[in-house]
């Protein structure tokens, strides 16, 4: 694991920068879009966690995804974008790479 030596500008880059925008984009043929197309029973949440963190989501993480889905008015793609954004910005993701 690497130590996190980040600063606000680096956090801003991870939050709002081009690479993140591209990674979470819902464009056709993109990562998120293809998960939606697969139509899995847990709405693709497991796939996000397996891909990003090499593990399955915990129960509270699954519940959080369901809550997010409600907030997004049932829009699965938007929920996945929000969850993927959170995973990519998490200490767990950063520490593992």
């Amino acid at each position: 694991a690497t130590t996190f030596n980040g600063s606000i500008p680096q956090a801003l880059m991870l939050f709002n920068g081009e690479l993140t925008k591209k990674a979470i984009s819902g464009e056709r043929g993109g990562f998120i879009d293809r998960i939606v197309a697969k139509g899995s029973r847990d709405r693709g949440v497991s796939e996000l966690f397996l891909t990003g963190l090499a593990r399955r989501p915990t129960r509270s993480e699954i519940r959080a995804a369901e809550t997010l889905l409600r907030y997004r008015g049932g829009n699965q793609k938007e929920m996945l974008q929000d969850m993927w954004w959170a995973i990519l910005n998490s200490n767990e993701f950063i520490m593992q790479h």
Binding site: S7, F15, T51, N91, H97
Partner: protein, 422 residues
């Protein structure tokens, strides 16, 4: 296309793009107990510092300590000022502000290389492969921040340059860089606040879960940076960066160029309570054709912006709480070279400092009639830093203690320039 990773990148590639380079090379420091000389005073400390950084090493012999008539004097003539000294004729606006600031003409340092000089003038220490020293900005921000719990924007801002890093104080004290028009890169998520909050909540949950599982200190530090970042994105104090909102007349008084607008931004940030702002102006490394460059380009810009800043701070009654410093890496040779320029020279040169609790209008120290040597007590970067800290009401007896038990003084053990303090 690799299914396992975002957009076809490997995860490491992705994160290497974003994580940037680790900063501190030296041992992590733990803070020893601090001893404040005047605890009550510190509680009320609303002081700030603005550093005007002249990248390249300006020829102070042509600006603040002229030698008219000497073979090394160059073509410029001195003019009277509202202070006790004369300065260059091409700084007429600053001549009206010199009662507010003083010139230290007896700077004598040893680093005549840009990188080393820059490091030394920013930290008070010479470069050392074993340790990364914190810059003045990081130290000052670190020292006063506990008195400003309401500050939601970064305490150390660098305008138009990168300044110097926080070294062993850690990334929380790194300078926050903006361009002179106050634009912060990647500030906007372009989502409504509600959705941003919801993303933060999901992120917080994943973070907590990981922190609980691993009890990882860096993970806890990460959470702090995330909170500061979120606060920054949503804080009303970010208005301070909106320099474009100033009236046209004010913008013109400072000068409609990067440095002028940068100085105006510095005033706004200081008003908002930011403890340390550095504003950069480069282009001073004049190895050839120096006098035309100074006369036609550098000095008019400097004169307008610096005088506007000091005048503005004085009129708003902010100057007694704001130390202003002007310096570069070093000065330039009294001898003019065959390209009509001056080269690097650290043995005798000038800095300018004033505001806060420091006295203005004085010329401290003297150089020889040709400018080649300091004839009075020489002063160093750490002396200047100690004096600036005194002007800010910061105790410099404080030390940080490294993990191996080695104490390091915050101002590098410099002495106060006594003429500048009451």
């Amino acid at each position: 296309m690799n299914w396992q990773t975002p957009a076809g990148m490997t995860r490491r590639h992705f994160i290497n793009h974003m994580a940037g380079s680790a900063a501190a090379a030296g041992a992590a420091m733990t803070l020893g107990n601090s001893i404040y000389a005047h605890a009550d005073q510190m509680k009320r400390n609303r002081k700030s510092a603005i550093m005007l950084w002249m990248g390249g090493g300006p020829a102070t012999i042509d600006i603040w300590d002229l030698k008219p008539g000497a073979p090394t004097g160059g073509p410029f003539q001195p003019i009277s000022t509202t202070g006790d000294m004369q300065i260059c004729e091409h700084m007429p606006m600053m001549a009206q502000q010199m009662q507010h600031v003083s010139i230290v003409r007896s700077m004598s340092t040893r680093e005549a290389d840009h990188t080393r000089g820059r490091y030394y003038m920013h930290t008070g220490y010479v470069p050392n492969p074993n340790i990364e020293h914190p810059s003045y900005g990081s130290v000052i921000a670190h020292e006063v921040i506990s008195q400003r719990p309401e500050l939601e924007i970064p305490p150390f801002v660098s305008v138009g340059g990168a300044s110097a890093g926080p070294g062993f104080l850690g990334m929380a004290w790194a300078p926050f860089s903006v361009t002179s028009n106050g634009r912060v890169r990647n500030l906007d998520m372009k989502l409504d606040d509600v959705r941003l909050q919801q993303r933060m909540a999901a992120l917080g949950m994943i973070e907590n879960s990981f922190a609980n599982r691993t009890r990882d200190l860096p993970a806890a530090e990460h959470a702090k940076v995330l909170k500061k970042t979120f606060d920054l994105m949503t804080s009303a104090q970010m208005e301070a960066f909106r320099v474009e909102k100033e009236p046209e007349a004010v913008k013109e008084r400072y000068g409609t160029n990067n440095f002028g607008q940068g100085c105006l931004l510095a005033r706004r940030l200081v008003q908002a309570g930011v403890p340390f702002v550095e504003v950069d102006l480069g282009g001073w490394d004049n190895h050839s054709g120096i006098h035309a460059t100074l006369r036609d380009n550098k000095l008019p810009q400097l004169d307008r912006a610096m005088s506007a800043l000091i005048e503005d701070l004085a009129q708003r009654e902010l100057l007694q709480d704001t130390v202003v410093m002007w310096m570069g890496e070093f000065g330039r040779t009294p001898t003019i070279n065959q390209n009509a320029g001056r080269d690097h020279f650290a043995r005798a040169w000038s800095c300018v400092v004033g505001g806060g609790d420091l006295k203005g209008g004085l010329a401290v120290g003297e150089t020889s009639s040709d400018g080649q040597a300091v004839e009075t007590e020489p002063f160093s970067s750490e002396d200047l830093m100690t004096t600036v800290c005194k002007g800010l009401g910061i105790a410099t007896e404080k030390t940080f203690t490294s993990k191996n038990g080695r104490p390091m003084k915050i101002a590098g053990g410099g002495k106060v320039i006594s003429e500048l303090v009451a």
